[in-house]
């Protein structure tokens, strides 16, 4: 059931006038357009959607890292003229469903100010309890700090891990306990640990000399 | 020297040997006792090894697999393989454990089981220790297992054994009571505490083919079933294997043991199983009495071991089927159902005995026992029974 997104947008604007909500078109054939919500009143919008429009199932919360904002606007095409964000940001998408009215995915997007110091989004755990673990996972893998989350800890990585693995600019440390298998990507790392293998035109040359047959 | 006296053979041989070598009297006596004891321990240690194989084979067959068949001809050498494995495994003692108690616990589990085995009459000629207070000795010795399980749980120092010990003690204490009360019925009817006399009183046949075992009397049937359920709980066997609930508290009080101490725990459990089912057979299934008249040529201890195998097979069958009971349900079942019904068998046995064991006694005792069971079923149906539910289907 394609959700009538315009009526919902109108409903929200009329109920919460000052909410900076805007429509974002999805260029792909799936037709799942989304609503960009301003971070500060995300919780009111969710509360309104749950109470009046009966969206009671928050099925999925996805974190996305947009180092170049232009790409973000390519995927979620804004209506009319909108100044693209200055520098990269982190984005969180919420997929809402209604179990009674059996209405399809209503996609909400919330964006952080920037990718470093204050990547903060208010946590919707007070409205939808299902977001608790998913927000912890986004905090763990992306670094978005959900203010108001009851127990914001790393959920998948171990607590002493400092970096955020799912970011586009994440570089895996070389001293991972790696598995030395004799094939090129790992041989590259093996070079520092076992200096025996040498390289040829950028690719690891197999140490055997004569044609192997 | 018929087949009947076969089990006594080693003891007589040694005594004769020593006598014509002119050994002093007390030496012959001690040697005789030693050999008699070693036959009992030998038979039941062999039984333990065989039972560990038979258990795995029967469980396997209930689950459509074959069970151990690689070591030896049909898996016969599997117990030997397990024994070697247990002996060669490293014996780890946790740092926080209290060394002495940690070592003492497995020993104190095996000792009472072997002592208890010494008192049970296996055949007309084969009673290792014909004690006049046999039954009392059995229960007195059986009381030591709780202390040893506590020592195992406490001495291991870690959390799961603590939980296991708590469960084990509460279960053993609360099932010891109905066990003894059912045995009391038999003592009251046969008038003695000595096990060989109890078996003798169960000789003979009613109406030609029904053996005069205690099981075939009204109170005996009820007491026998209750005794059977309590012996499952005493031996920590499946629906009541909470102390060693492997899906919840890993291995209960045995978690921190490895190597031969762990094997000792198993030996203790299985010998305890032999002892408790041996006692059950002696009290209710007529010990070594033959089931049908005219089978006198068969040596009596064959009957005892045949009955022992059937009882133990039923333990294995139950182990293959039932899930585990929760600790509070276990306690409620013991105190609210087992003990009242066990207490009920005492007056029934008394009336049955003093009303001359004839038709009159049957007429009186059967309703006396039947009515409470009907009441329990009604209560069970009305309030307690977990209901089977109906389910709606949406289009």
């Amino acid at each position: 059931m394609i959700v009538e997104i315009e009526t919902i947008l109108a409903g929200i604007r009329e109920a919460l006038p000052n909410s900076g909500i805007s429509f974002r078109k999805n260029p792909g054939p799936s037709g799942q357009h989304s609503l960009l919500v301003d971070g500060s009143n995300l919780v009111e919008v969710c509360q309104f959607l749950q109470d009046t429009l009966d969206f009671d199932l928050l099925s999925n919360v996805t974190g996305v890292d947009w180092p170049e904002p232009a790409k973000a606007d390519a995927v979620a095409v804004p209506e009319g003229e909108v100044t693209p964000a200055a520098e990269g940001f982190l984005e969180v998408l919420y997929h809402l469903y209604s179990t009674n009215r059996r209405v399809g995915p209503l996609v909400l997007r919330a964006r952080t100010a920037d990718r470093a110091g204050n990547a903060k989004i208010p946590s919707v755990v007070s409205v939808f309890r299902s977001a608790e673990f998913q927000e912890r996972e986004i905090f763990d893998l992306y670094g978005v700090i959900f203010t108001g989350h009851p127990d914001l800890r790393r959920i998948l990585m171990w607590d002493e891990f400092v970096d955020f693995p799912m970011r586009k600019d994440y570089v895996a440390p070389d001293d991972y306990e790696y598995e030395p298998t004799p094939h090129d990507a790992v041989l590259e790392k093996a070079k520092t640990h076992y200096p025996s293998s040498e390289t040829q035109d950028g690719k690891i040359q197999d140490t055997r000399k004569e044609p192997v047959l | 020297m018929s087949l009947e006296h076969l089990p006594r053979l080693p003891q007589r041989l040694v005594e004769m040997l020593l006598q014509n070598f002119g050994a002093p009297e007390w030496l012959v006596l001690i040697a005789g006792f030693l050999v008699a004891a070693s036959t009992v321990v030998g038979v039941f240690a062999g039984g333990f090894a065989l039972l560990s194989l038979v258990e795995r084979k029967t469980l396997a067959r209930a689950q459509n697999r074959i069970g151990p068949n690689r070591a030896g001809w049909f898996g016969i050498l599997q117990p030997v393989a397990d024994g070697i494995k247990m002996l060669t495994k490293e014996d780890i003692v946790p740092a926080k454990a209290e060394k002495i108690l940690h070592l003492l616990a497995p020993i104190m589990i095996v000792v009472p089981a072997i002592l208890a085995l010494g008192v049970i009459p296996y055949g007309r000629e084969w009673i290792p220790v014909p004690l006049e207070l046999g039954l009392l000795f059995f229960f007195a010795v059986g009381a030591m297992t709780e202390v040893s399980i506590f020592m195992a749980g406490w001495a291991s120092g870690s959390k799961f054994p603590m939980l296991g010990a708590m469960r084990a003690i509460s279960q053993m204490v609360s099932y010891e009571l109905p066990l003894m009360i059912c045995a009391l019925g038999v003592v009251m009817v046969s008038g003695t505490l000595s096990l060989p006399d109890i078996v003798d009183r169960q000789g003979g046949f009613h109406l030609g083919f029904i053996p005069a075992w205690n099981l075939f009397t009204p109170w005996g049937l009820v007491a026998g079933l209750l005794f059977y359920v309590c012996s499952i709980a005493e031996a920590n066997r499946c629906p009541f294997d909470l102390p060693e609930g492997e899906s919840e508290i890993v291995a209960g009080h045995m978690t921190e043991y490895s190597g031969f101490k762990y094997a000792l725990f198993f030996m203790g459990e299985y010998l305890g199983l032999f002892a408790i089912s041996g006692l059950g057979i002696t009290l209710f299934l007529g010990g070594w009495q033959a089931p049908l008249p005219g089978l006198d040529f068969v040596p009596t201890w064959i009957w005892f071991f045949a009955k022992l195998c059937t009882v133990i097979f039923s333990f294995l069958w139950i182990r293959a089927t039932f899930p585990r009971v929760r600790i509070d349900q276990l306690m409620r079942f013991a105190w609210l159902c087992m003990i009242p019904m066990a207490l009920l068998t005492l007056p029934a046995a008394a009336i049955w005995h003093f009303a001359g064991r004839g038709l009159l006694s049957w007429v009186v005792t059967v309703p006396l026992l039947l009515i409470p069971w009907v009441i329990i079923t009604v209560i069970y149906n009305k309030r307690l029974a977990p209901t089977l539910r109906t389910y709606r289907f949406a289009e």
Binding site: S30, L57, T62, T99, R129, S130 | P323, R326, Q329, L388
Partner: protein, 385 residues
């Protein structure tokens, strides 16, 4: 970098001080016989009753989503087998469904029927294995599990004949299936479906009336409907509480609206209802399989113009979801027009169904915690991704 900002704090995990207030802190897992994989729970016990329970994840985390971002759409397909390794084919279908929604690809008739047959066979495998595991957690080691695995082997043989591997099927492609049904496969599948009914009757005789099972599972781990929906619980656990929400009926994907089958609903939603709902769902799956096998058409098993190599979906995003045996399995894909997905997100039902684990276990025994975890039916490959 963000790592040094003071804002980033990690609240101290459950302090493991020992017994000052007579509470026993026990860590159930990750090495534990009944946590269905490497899953750990920090349980604080007062005697035997649970005072607090904090789940700990991450032991099987291999960052499946990062691997997918650095690989093409097709090479993520074999990795979806490893998400919920008990039902690989329904994971494949979920991923293929999401990509088809992203790129707007239609699927020929025969492929749709093959997908429904394989998904329902996977549901049978999952629910049968569930019955075996839940009895294993309760202590009847092995018997129910071995009967369940005996039937599961027959279905896995069918998968091996069709896809080449018993479990790691890697069978769906964007626009259909990898190869066609070998000769005689449909007939063998029909025979299996026919004699699955008697096996279910035997398992029900073994399970349904068993007093110990009734006593241990009734009124255990029960939560009201609205808390379940708010907690994001989907699948059999939600329907056991009476919420009529099955994605095959709510948002019929593939050709599910052609089959007539019904959705079993419970009333109370405790562990017993969850077991029974799964049994009734298996009977409905058998009905679907029967109808699908009868109407299986001829035709090509993959869309003729389906692209296997350098497949570039148009820019955009899509969230496709199917009714997996464990709940709503969704894939959220964002494509920026290149051969690699920009963002590849899996909505794992096992992971989100664990949100309310603590609420269900408070005040109950340690033995109940094990059963409640079993009734949620988690697989760690999907929880940790």
């Amino acid at each position: 970098m963000i790592s040094d900002s003071s804002m980033l704090y990690s609240t101290p995990a459950l302090e493991t001080g020992d017994d000052e207030d007579q509470l026993l802190r026990v860590s159930l897992g990750p090495q534990h016989p009944s946590t269905h994989g490497v899953f750990r729970m920090n349980v604080v016990l007062d005697g035997e009753t649970v005072v607090s329970l904090k789940p700990v994840f991450g032991y099987l985390h291999r960052n499946h989503e990062k691997i997918a971002e650095n690989a093409t759409y097709l090479s993520s397909m074999p990795y979806t087998d490893r998400l919920d390794y008990i039902c690989p084919l329904s994971n494949n279908w979920a991923y293929a469904h999401a990509v088809e929604k992203l790129a707007g690809i239609e699927v020929p008739e025969r492929a749709e029927y093959m997908r429904v047959i394989l998904a329902e066979l996977t549901r049978l495998i999952n629910h049968t294995a569930f019955a075996g595991f839940i009895l294993g957690d309760m202590g009847a080691w092995g018997s129910a599990l071995m009967y369940a695995f005996r039937e599961r082997e027959k279905i896995l043989d069918l998968f091996e004949d069709l896809t080449g591997a018993r479990m790691m099927a890697n069978f769906m492609r964007f626009g259909g299936c990898r190869n066609d049904l070998p000769a005689g496969w449909a007939m063998k599948c029909g025979k299996l479906v026919d004699d699955y009914g008697p096996f279910l009757d035997e398992m029900e005789k073994f399970l349904v009336g068993n007093e110990i099972l009734l006593a241990r599972t009734q009124d255990v781990g029960q939560l009201p409907k609205d808390i379940l929906i708010n907690g994001g619980i989907t699948g059999p656990m939600l329907r056991a509480a009476g919420v009529n929400y099955d994605i095959r009926k709510v948002e019929p994907y593939g050709i599910y609206e052609r089959f007539d089958f019904r959705i079993p609903l419970g009333e109370i939603g405790d562990c017993y209802d969850r077991i029974m709902i799964r049994f009734l769902e298996m009977r409905e799956s058998l009905k679907i399989l029967r109808q699908a096998l009868d109407q299986l058409p001829e035709g090509d098993y993959i869309h003729p113009k389906a692209k296997i190599r350098n497949f570039k979906p148009p820019v955009g995003e899509a969230y496709g979801r199917i009714e997996g045996p464990k709940g709503e399995l969704g894939f959220h894909l964002i494509s920026d027009g290149t051969t690699n997905p920009y963002r590849y997100r899996v909505r794992p039902p096992s992971f989100i169904n664990l949100t309310l684990l603590e609420d269900m276990c408070l005040g109950l025994d340690l033995a109940d915690v094990v059963i409640i975890l079993g009734s949620i039916d988690i697989v760690l490959g999907e929880v940790d991704r």
